[in-house]
């Protein structure tokens, strides 16, 4: 499968471990990613907070670049990017005058026809049966809290993905990999998103609730499909523990990490060793005979 790839700034910046694991795990699944030439930032929260026109123009330029480079489908593994791309795509598809003015603004014909996939959708497209057949090391000791955050499922009329209150798509993937998942309350609550720098306290408060709820429901790890969620839950976890005087010690994996681990990759090949909270040291740690990572497996 050939697919346009829109990495977005995070995956080429401090979330390059996410790109490492998704590139690694997609290779044996016969997915070739072709990076969109000369892509630009989607504008993220800054654009939609300060200028509505720019918030459409920046993603529209990327849609046009992909279309002009002959792609009909693209992977945007960052939910912020994929939501912004889908929002712009919908806006130009519904309004011919806007489509024409955007084409002038971004100096490329914007057709808004390219499909945009998040990482979960890509795995669904590959097929859960195919994924299951490729598993070499079932994640039998994993008891994951699948965390969707905000933009994978919201706004529903834009992203048109899964159930926005009770999503299940990540759980299905985890189950195909031989892992267990917990039923918990905070899967679609916000982690604090882009407030990491400007208002750290917001991130500490919201992410602490997420980690605590996952722990209370017996999870031994969190699985995310968003670079911002990973930053807030992994990189900021030590600050959360210090601020609240608690110990979470909750490994946070990207969805591509857990797929890679199940496919038999060593954690270092996926960049798991570059996370802040230590994850599994080897795939043997994922087998039931060994105790699960973290002290709180099966707390409830």
């Amino acid at each position: 499968m050939n697919l346009a790839y829109y990495p977005g700034c995070a995956l080429h910046g401090s979330s390059n471990d996410y790109e490492q694991s998704l590139r690694a795990c997609l290779e044996p699944l016969d997915v070739q990613l072709k990076e969109i030439d000369d892509w630009i930032c989607c504008g993220a929260t800054a654009a939609h907070s300060l200028n509505q026109k720019l918030a459409v123009a920046l993603p529209a330029r990327n849609l046009a670049l992909a279309e002009n480079q002959g792609f009909r489908e693209m992977l945007a593994p960052c939910p912020m990017c994929s939501m912004q791309l889908l929002k712009a795509r919908k806006a130009v598809a519904q309004d011919e005058a806007l489509r024409r003015s955007m084409s002038e603004i971004v100096e490329l014909e914007v057709r808004g026809e390219t499909r945009v996939l998040n990482l979960i959708q890509l795995f669904e497209k590959i097929g859960l049966d195919r994924l299951k057949a490729a598993v070499k090391s079932p994640l039998s000791s994993m008891c994951a809290a699948c965390y969707y955050g905000c933009l994978l499922t919201r706004p529903p009329e834009v992203v048109e993905f899964d159930d926005f209150e009770q999503p299940r798509s990540m759980e299905k993937i985890l189950e195909a990999l031989g892992g267990k998942t917990v039923d918990w309350n905070y899967r679609t609550e916000c982690c604090g998103a882009g407030m990491t720098m400007a208002s750290e306290q917001t991130v500490l408060d919201l992410s602490h609730k997420i980690l605590s709820n996952a722990q209370a429901h017996g999870a031994n790890c969190l699985v995310v499909a968003c670079p911002m969620c990973h930053v807030n839950l992994d990189m900021k976890q030590a600050n959360i523990e210090r601020h609240y005087g608690v110990r979470h010690a909750m490994p946070v994996y990207y969805l591509s990490d857990v797929v890679g681990l199940a496919l038999g990759f060593r954690p270092e090949a996926l960049g798991v060793n570059r996370h802040f909270v230590p994850g599994v040291a080897s795939s043997a740690d994922l087998q039931v005979s060994k105790p699960a990572t973290g002290p709180k497996a099966g707390a409830k």
Binding site: C9, A10, H12, G13, S14, S15, N16, D17, D38, W39, I40, C41, G43, A44, T45, A46, A47, H48, S49, L50, N51, Q52, K53, L54, A55, A57, L58, R61, I105, V106, E107, C150, L151, R154, P155, P156, F164, T188, E189, C190, G192, A193, G194, M195, M197, A198, S199, T202, L206, M235, R274, H275, F276
Partner: protein, 194 residues
Amino acid sequence: MKVETVVSDSASIVPQVELLAHTRIRECYQCGKCTAGCPMAAGMDAPPTRLIRLLQLGHGEAALRAQSIWQCVSCQTCATRCPKSVDCAGVMDALRQLSAERGAATPEQQRTVLFQKAFLNNIRRNGRLNELELIGEFKLSTFLHGRSLSFLFKDATLAPDLMKRKKFHLVGEKARDRAVLARIFARCVDESLL
């Protein structure tokens, strides 16, 4: 019976908000579902329901000065759950834009405004986000706004931690066609805003 007349601001901002957010403020019947689901509501001066009510009553200036619009994390829960399909998250965006354009943000929320501006400036220059440059520009601009030294050096210890994990790039990526970026920005944003 005494009839009170609502004295509204000189020029209502509601039409502008509705245009920017593609939504209708008067649709809201104040059920409060947006606020009930808002992860930030507990600490807000004007949570979503109240913000919409301020607009309905013509108190646009109060809405533009509300701290809550800069506390909002854009999680989209309010808009998703609204039984009347009011795009409350879009209203937040519209209010932020108008507030920033008019310089109405309160000093307490200035940090968030400065971060968003530094972010856009960075993209305008590079096409792609250069994290190190962003942090530098954000820290400097908050410092120049009379903020504390402790905030200037907060997170400084993060650099070696990120470096150790090969997550730190001294030189960031840039898009090749940066001239087009400058033109796109010029067509969308008033130069004086950034």
